[in-house]
């Protein structure tokens, strides 16, 4: 997926000379996780701007560049540090167009990875997408594969609105078909990762593959799960997920973020609001335990696994 994102940004930077990248370690180093490999060499230090360690001002600079008409990508090295960019995102980028009566556009894309399960501990393993979902005026994109990542990044760079593009670090190395051409993917349209009529598993990002794996396991016992990959959390494809649940009558929602206050609650309640009469069982959430993330062997007890998803599927089938 890293290459697909790199390719999308490279294509768009060639097309649109106004695009600027800001962040730390994004120069010759190519970004903390190497997503920018080669961009510095191709586009130079004016457009690929390696800078000091100051997430708040870096995001503010990004907003200023965006206001001036530069689609700008700010990289926040771990989503755990989005806290430092949150004021600029929440109180400025997301609201400016609105409170200035539509006079300005903020074509800002904040790229940031979720770095879970690597054993980096409580300050480097979080999933904070739910925060961003709760901010009107922000787009929240979270792809699960290279093809989607490429198409969604192209969309994000042309959309002209403040966007947080969340990348799951475990997916960077994932391989898969990625279209050569310029094929933007519309926001707010989920992808059906697997078809099935018994249970709808709703997920996104790093949990898509475990959910598909769980579905394959359940299929061995004749339980056919539909796995929905939301792709974007804002806008949220409520109609798309309700359509599926109206057919299956059962829903499991899975994510790596801690359960309480996570995106899963919003997704589940969206199902209740749009498909309650079709529900044959309570919606179950599969998520991380409500704990700071420990290192070492304890870590695996906190994050949800394919096994947990499968167990939830069997539970809603009862």
């Amino acid at each position: 997926m890293a290459e697909a994102i790199n390719e999308a940004i490279r294509m768009e930077m060639r097309r649109d000379k106004e695009i600027v990248l800001l962040g730390q370690d994004i120069g010759a180093y190519g970004g903390t996780f190497g997503v920018y490999k080669g961009l510095f060499d191709e586009f130079g230090s004016e457009r690929v701007r390696d800078g000091p360690l100051c997430e708040a001002a870096t995001t503010g600079f990004g907003i200023g560049l965006a206001l001036a008409g530069h689609p700008t990508i700010v990289e926040i090295e771990f989503i755990d540090f989005i806290t430092l960019a949150s004021d600029a995102l929440v109180n400025q980028a997301a609201k400016m167009r609105y409170f200035f009566g539509g006079q300005v556009r903020v074509p800002l894309v904040v790229r940031t990875p979720i770095v879970s399960r690597l054993g980096l501990g409580a300050q480097h393993s979080q999933s904070l997408e739910a925060w961003l979902m709760h901010v009107p005026g922000l787009r929240v994109i979270i792809p699960s594969n290279g093809a989607d990542a490429k198409g969604l990044m192209l969309t994000a760079l042309r959309d002209g609105n403040p966007t947080v593009f969340i990348e799951h670090v475990r997916l960077y190395a994932s391989r898969g078909p990625v279209p050569e051409q310029d094929e933007p993917i519309p926001l707010g349209k989920l992808r059906t990762a697997r078809h099935g009529n018994d249970v709808t598993i709703i997920t996104y990002g790093g949990m898509v593959k475990p959910c598909v794996d769980a579905a394959e396991q359940a299929a061995k016992d004749g339980i056919e799960c539909e796995v929905l990959d939301l792709r974007t959390l804002s806008p949220l494809d409520r109609e798309g997920l309700c359509q599926s649940v109206r057919r299956t009558g059962r829903a499991v929602v899975a994510h790596e973020a801690v359960k309480t206050g996570g995106a899963g609650a919003e997704i589940a309640q969206s199902v209740v609001e749009g498909a309650f009469d079709y529900l044959k069982a309570p919606i179950i959430r599969v998520a991380s335990k409500d704990l700071p993330i420990p290192t070492g062997t304890l870590q695996d007890l906190v994050f949800p696994s394919a096994v947990d998803v499968e167990a939830a599927v069997r539970q809603v089938m009862q």
Binding site: E46, P52, H70, R97, V104, G137, R139
Partner: protein, 324 residues
């Protein structure tokens, strides 16, 4: 008055400042009285007694230079040439307001005038302004960006981080700190351990300059140098304009002024009588002064009436302009 390198300061310019300062003063007085009358909610933060900074700084800019200011930036909006009617209409949250009536007193904006708005999160607009200045540099368009903020803002991380990055990248921005001695109730001496906020610059390697913010000529002169420096690609300047805040932080701030002496100080510091004296010294007649002042009052009365007569935004527009 300090006249260094201000040979271009003639009576005509001073008269324009004089009229504009009255325009700002009357605007703020109308803002306060209409707020008190309940013509709009929230609050309003007058820049009364800080008008000299508005006019002196604006005169050093080209129309295409960009300005960012705070909730206390009505005067900067006026000095940048925003339409007085649209400003008062915005305070009253009317459809005809410069921000469509949904921003209010703290969110005045007119991009067509390169006034990129007033902001209500202290210091948050400083990196944004510097980012726009970086765009000027990337495009080589010769424009300069100016950002106004207060003494309180000079304690926020966003300000310091920006000083570092803007100096590092030599972006064409001028940081103008309006040191009016207070952050709501907190006097600068209880917030800042150094004498002059301009000294902040020493830790970042950019020039720091302190001037009397109630002397428009001093502000103008210092701004011209800072703007020229930025335009020539030499990077940012931190300009501290020492001034005095009018009676209270905002029209709703609790009780009376936190500090009696300061309460009176602004009257002594009031830049308008001082400029008036200078104009008299230069032989400007009372009639001329009076007619300028009256004109300032008239345009404000018209703006007030326009705002009152304007319609509120259409309810169905509430969800407009969230996304482009």
């Amino acid at each position: 008055m300090n006249n260094n390198n201000n040979d271009d300061v003639n009576s005509e310019l001073l008269l324009r400042w004089y009229e504009q300062m009255w325009t700002i003063r009357f605007f703020e007085e109308n803002a306060i009285s209409s707020f008190r009358k309940g013509l709009f909610g929230g609050s309003t933060h007058p820049c009364i007694c800080q008008e000299a900074i508005c006019v002196g700084a604006a005169s050093a800019l080209n129309p295409t230079d960009q300005v960012f200011a705070t909730y206390r930036g009505h005067g900067h909006a006026i000095a940048k040439g925003l339409d007085l009617k649209s400003l008062m209409a915005e305070l009253l949250c009317k459809q005809t307001g410069c921000s469509g009536g949904r921003g209010g007193s703290m969110h005045l904006c007119d991009v067509s005038k390169d006034f990129w708005g007033t902001n209500a999160i202290v210091a948050a607009h400083i990196p944004i302004a510097a980012g726009m200045a970086l765009s000027n540099k990337l495009r080589g368009n010769g424009r300069v960006t100016v950002v106004f903020f207060g003494d309180g803002a000079s304690c926020e991380g966003a300000f310091f981080e920006t000083l570092n990055m803007a100096t590092l990248w030599k972006v064409p921005v001028v940081f103008v700190c309006e040191n009016n001695g207070y952050a709501i109730s907190v006097p600068t001496k209880l917030a800042i351990p150094i004498e002059n906020i301009a000294q902040r610059a020493d830790g970042f390697g950019l020039p720091g300059v302190t001037v009397d913010g109630n002397e428009p000529i001093a502000v103008y002169g210092a701004m011209k140098q800072a703007v020229a420096r930025a335009r020539q690609g030499e990077g940012p300047t931190l300009l501290e304009c020492k001034t005095v805040r009018w009676e209270r932080h905002s029209a709703i701030s609790a009780g009376k002024y936190e500090n009696e002496d300061a309460a009176e100080a602004w009257k002594r510091a009031d830049p308008i009588p001082r400029l008036e004296a200078e104009l008299r010294r230069r032989g400007i007649s009372d009639d001329e002064l009076l007619s300028r002042k009256e004109r300032a009052r008239t345009v404000n009365d018209e703006a007030m009436q326009f705002a009152i007569d304007s319609a509120v935004p259409a309810p169905e527009s509430v969800a407009d302009s969230v996304f482009a």
